[in-house]
């Protein structure tokens, strides 16, 4: 990818090496198969072991748990490269890292961390994250999934979750539920639910036109009995799952850049080689403007995410700053993908090319992890001090 602004000079040698290693993996293992996976509606499970060997899962968590202990910028670059392959592949990694491993790391007991994190880094245990419910998407505080504690400290879980990435693949689900009949969002706690528990059911969500190379499932919990140590002891209130989402959204802001880069590169290559009216279409002003707009937006997004990553590494970033990056970069990527698709003419609608696949995928990314609109409201509140939610 053209580094028009010499952004590499802002990265360390290790950060570049990490990016290049994941890039090579995606070029060799993901790109050759992903178009067909998308058409077939199949997540390529066969690449999971090699991703684990590379060390992408929980890459920014500490080495004592078998993770790579990378900076947040390096973690972001990994997401960028994975999503240059496909948003579904990046989603798998985001969920495993930021939405399943991170809550165990942040809210789990020492025993839970020791038990799960090293095996999750190796992908021997795959996780998913259940927050959204059929009737509570943008407003998870309304959730109705409920866990009740028995006298002996064990739990019984009832309810259901919807749109759960990795839901049918996972060995454990990190499920967010209200507790003991209290319907306020202060009672929300996280639970580690083994997916082979009696009463746990995962159903593949059929008919998706987006993120087709990703497992999206509905989860049903019917009197699922959980041991006392299933609860994440340090979780408490809606703030806990939102902290996980802040981690994941940070990575998504990078991932979207990767998808946009793939589309830009494809469009540029195509424009240089497609001859119409006796010359490459890249020589026409309209296509040049398209390419100029794409590159400009990609460069801006890269600088936003990179600076955000440095703030995160310094420990000073805010969730509102993450909202700005997620909102801008994903929206940018949807535009770039659509323009690339159009530049490609009829070929642009084929799965053989990446742009339309990215364009379709990015519609999910636009909606999940806080919709674009919801991030507008978060920013609106940060700017005006007035909440539009309540």
């Amino acid at each position: 990818m053209l580094d028009f602004y010499n952004i590499d000079s802002l990265l360390s040698e290790e950060e570049c090496a990490i990016r290049d290693s994941v890039r090579q993996f995606v070029d060799e293992r993901v790109l050759p198969i992903i178009g067909k996976c998308f058409v077939d509606g199949r997540f390529p499970k066969e690449i999971i072991p090699e991703m684990a060997e590379l060390g992408v899962f929980g890459a920014n968590l500490p080495e004592e748990y078998g993770c790579a202990g990378l900076s947040n910028v390096a973690y972001g670059l990994i997401n960028q490269e994975l999503e240059r392959g496909d948003s579904g592949v990046r989603s798998f990694a985001s969920v495993q890292s930021s939405l399943a491993m991170y809550p165990i790391y942040a809210f789990g007991s020492d025993e839970q961390k020791q038990k799960y994190l090293p095996r999750m880094a190796k992908a021997e245990v795959i996780g998913c994250f259940g927050l959204t419910e059929p009737d509570y998407g943008s407003n998870p505080s309304g959730m109705i999934t409920m866990a009740r504690e028995h006298k002996d400290g064990t739990w019984i879980l009832n309810g259901g979750k919807m749109w759960i990435t990795n839901g049918s693949t996972a060995h454990i689900a990190v499920v967010w539920a209200k507790t003991n009949g209290d319907t306020s969002d202060k009672s929300i706690r996280g639970f580690i639910v083994p997916t082979d528990s009696t009463g746990f059911q995962a159903k593949d969500q059929k008919g998706k036109l987006s993120l087709r190379a990703s497992d999206t499932s509905e989860l049903v919990f019917q009197d699922v009995e959980l041991p006392a140590d299933a609860i994440l002891p340090r979780s408490g209130g809606l703030k806990s799952p939102l902290m996980c989402l802040t981690q994941a959204r940070y990575g998504i802001s990078w991932g979207a850049i990767g998808a946009a880069m793939a589309c830009f590169e494809e469009a540029l290559e195509y424009a240089k080689n497609r001859i119409m009216f006796d010359r490459p279409i890249a020589g026409f002003q309209i296509q040049q403007e398209r390419l100029a707009d794409m590159l400009t937006e990609i460069v801006k997004a890269q600088l936003v995410s990179l600076h955000l990553g440095r703030l995160k590494d310094a420990g000073t970033f805010t969730p509102q700053q993450v909202s700005l990056a997620k909102r801008n970069n994903v929206s940018m990527a949807t535009d770039v993908a659509r323009e690339a698709r159009r530049l490609l003419g009829a070929n642009g609608i084929l799965a053989e090319y990446a742009s339309m696949r990215h364009m379709e995928n990015l519609e999910s990314v636009y909606t999940y992890e806080g919709t674009h609109d919801v991030h507008s409201l978060v920013l609106g509140q940060a700017i005006t001090g007035l909440s539009a939610f309540k």
């Binding site: 090496a17 990490i18 060997e53 590379l54 790579a68 202990g69 990378l70 390096a74």
Partner: protein, 250 residues
């Protein structure tokens, strides 16, 4: 086992190449360089041998200017234990000059095995490995597609046209490695972080005299555009005629 792997930094083979103004080299502007493909197979073979056989050491060597440190660091991020740069301003074209520098360094290293790629993508000369073996006075096996070591002896497989041969040799030895022997691992993210802390030593290269140089380079002639001469069976007579008279292949 103590294994040395000599690696070269070469441009990505999928680049579009241009000839530099000197007309005797390629234009390096905008090219991406990495560890040579064959050399990366050799690194993988060394790592696998030492993983299989228990405690050992894999040391990587590169002759060249400071940019080769990046290549050495990549081999260490794959798992090599330490690296040595034999520093020169530029890598001479003459393979024997490079082999002299490597042999001078490897001689006292106490290596059981010295591995090379069968040749490097940029020159396709394949001299450095064999010349180093000769200078060290040890047996040399070229283009191995399989390599096993047991009881101080090596067994290698070599692919021939329509057949293969299995050769045996005592250690220490030099083996040059063919592609496909083992898929080079991706540098893992942990490996990249660990490589930062591994020793990379820099010493002046004691190059031999440079007697062979490149005078000029040529790129293949541009292919003429294709021509459609018709469709279906009706076009066959004309096609045959052109293949005979114009292309002269029939």
């Amino acid at each position: 086992m103590k294994i040395a792997v000599c690696i070269k930094r070469t441009p990505d083979s999928e680049s579009r190449f241009k000839i530099a103004a000197s007309s005797a080299a390629i234009d390096e502007a905008g090219l991406k360089f990495d560890i040579d493909d064959f050399a990366s197979y050799a690194v993988e073979v060394a790592l696998q041998l030492n993983e299989k056989q228990g405690p050992g050491e894999t040391v990587v060597y590169a002759v060249g200017p400071d940019v080769v440190q990046e290549t050495l660091r990549k081999a260490m991020s794959m798992g090599a234990d330490r690296a040595v740069q034999l520093k020169t301003d530029a890598v001479p074209y003459d393979g024997l000059a490079v082999a002299k520098a490597l042999a001078a360094e490897l001689e006292s290293g106490g290596y059981d095995l010295v591995l090379f790629g069968k040749h490097a993508f940029d020159t396709s000369a394949g001299i450095v490995g064999t010349a180093t073996a000769e200078l060290l006075g040890v047996p040399c096996v070229t283009a191995a597609s399989k390599l096993d070591i047991a009881g101080g002896k090596g067994t290698a497989r070599r692919e021939l046209e329509g057949a293969a041969e299995i050769v045996e040799f005592p250690l220490p030895a030099v083996v040059t490695i063919d592609e496909g022997i083992a898929r080079p691992r991706y540098p893992s993210l942990k490996g990249i972080m660990a490589a930062k802390k591994k020793p990379l030593e820099t010493k002046p290269a004691q190059l031999g005299p440079v007697r062979v140089t490149v005078k000029s380079m040529e790129l293949p002639a541009e292919r003429a555009p294709g021509r459609i001469i018709g469709e279906g069976a009706a076009a066959v007579p004309e096609l045959v005629r052109l293949l005979q008279t114009e292309a002269k292949v029939l």
